[in-house]
């Protein structure tokens, strides 16, 4: 299942993802999906500093990524980690049922104004909660987990019942 991790984490490429997840999952490719970064060489350069030589890093815009998801899923040669910065980007990638049946990991969204604390590493606004529910209705399996060894918290347990 060569998309070994599809993660929402506002820090994108950093130690916890590369070492904590990439190591145990034996990932050899990391894709960052973000329109702004895809157009920004200096930003890509900075994120690449945190990537060890054995892992290939690439940066794609949302539309390009959406078209490639099926390819990564079916790729027998590479084990891919896909990273998005926030729920809004996740929702855009998931348009046209692109992520139907996939597993998505909520890994790190920090405290900010308007956000409610759900977990020590996860703060969401009401809109983001609704967006996630919408994705779940489209058969995207969403759960929160900060490290592979932790127990995943499924979406139904995270969000208060409507």
């Amino acid at each position: 299942m060569p998309i070994v991790l599809f993660r929402v984490d506002e820090r994108l490429i950093h130690g916890q993802v590369v070492v904590g997840w990439g190591g145990p999952l034996h990932a050899d490719r990391i894709v960052v999906v973000d329109d702004a970064i895809a157009d920004s060489p200096w930003e890509q350069e900075l994120y690449c500093l945190g990537v060890p030589p054995e892992i290939e890093a690439s940066f794609l815009g949302v539309d390009a990524a959406r078209a490639r998801v099926a390819g990564w899923r079916g790729d027998a040669l590479h084990r891919t980690i896909v990273l998005v910065r926030d729920v809004a980007t996740l929702r855009r990638v998931a348009e046209e049922h692109a992520l139907r049946g996939d597993e998505v990991n909520l890994g790190g969204i920090h405290h900010a104004a308007g956000r409610e604390r759900l977990l020590p590493y996860l703060y969401l606004t009401a809109d983001e909660g609704a967006a996630l529910r919408g994705l779940a209705a489209d058969e995207v399996r969403i759960s929160a987990r900060d490290l592979p060894a932790s127990r995943p918290v499924p979406l139904e347990d995270l969000l208060p019942a409507r």
Partner: protein, 245 residues
């Protein structure tokens, strides 16, 4: 290095020594970063008190970095603010920098340079050097890199602004780390042997030396806990023996 005066640059460097002064679990190094940046923000927002307060609030937000490399961020952000860059751009820059400054610094300084220099001091002492030589050499060697790193990082930040990624990638830091790790491994072997060798073990007791070395290598970071237990057991055994005599 347009827009950032020498006086402000000196202030950034000096304040960087206190960058972790209010490190906390909510904003990590954020509050300290704002403290370091304050002189630059004052200059950039001169005459605009409200603008200064808004900028300061922005920069006191969550941020992280290795303390010695925080000047990369400080220098680059100082330049960006002086040039009037949009807050959103500066925010993205800091987000992109966070992970790399942390891991670069951790790998080079805490995991390599510091233990290597400490081992140098320890080995000197074990080899018979006077107390002031051991501590002195450690401090001199360690801080030679430490102080250079802070100043170099500030220069890189001020000079390259958004483009610091390339300078960091092409820096001598990686190679330096490799050399230091090699020296550290050498010193570790040397010191470990001297540590036990000087204990005057006789006969079969001498086998404890290689055993201790092997234990240390195999246990790795658990060595400390095992050492504590062993020492405590030794002391307790002594007390018990005296009690029962």
């Amino acid at each position: 290095m347009s827009g950032v005066s020498p006086r402000v640059r000196r202030a950034l460097l000096l304040r960087s020594f206190a960058v972790q002064g209010s490190w906390n679990y909510r904003t990590l190094i954020g509050t300290g970063f704002a403290f370091v940046l304050l002189p630059a923000l004052r200059a950039a927002h001169a005459g605009d008190e409200a603008g200064l307060r808004r900028a300061l609030a922005r920069h006191a937000e969550l941020f992280n970095s290795h303390p010695y490399l925080a000047t990369v961020a400080a220098g680059a952000v100082a330049r960006l603010e002086a040039e009037g860059a949009a807050p959103e751009l500066v925010g993205r820059f800091k987000s992109a920098l966070r992970g790399s400054l942390g891991s670069l610094g951790d790998r080079l300084v805490w995991l390599t340079w510091r233990p290597a220099c400490a081992l140098l001091g320890v080995c000197l002492l074990l080899a018979g050097a006077p107390w002031w030589a051991a501590a002195g050499v450690f401090l001199l060697a360690y801080n030679a890199l430490h102080l250079w790193l802070r100043a170099w990082a500030l220069d890189v930040g001020l000079r390259d602004g958004l483009q610091v990624g390339r300078a960091l990638r092409e820096s001598p830091l990686e190679r330096l780390g490799e050399r230091a790790a090699g020296a550290g491994a050498l010193l570790a072997g040397f010191g470990a042997v001297l540590a036990f060798g000087g204990a005057g073990a006789r006969g079969t007791d001498q086998l404890l030396g290689p055993a201790a070395l092997a234990a240390g290598i195999l246990l790795g970071f658990r060595t400390r806990r095992v050492a504590f237990a062993l020492l405590a057991a030794t002391l307790a055994a002594g007390a018990l023996y005296l009690r029962t005599r």
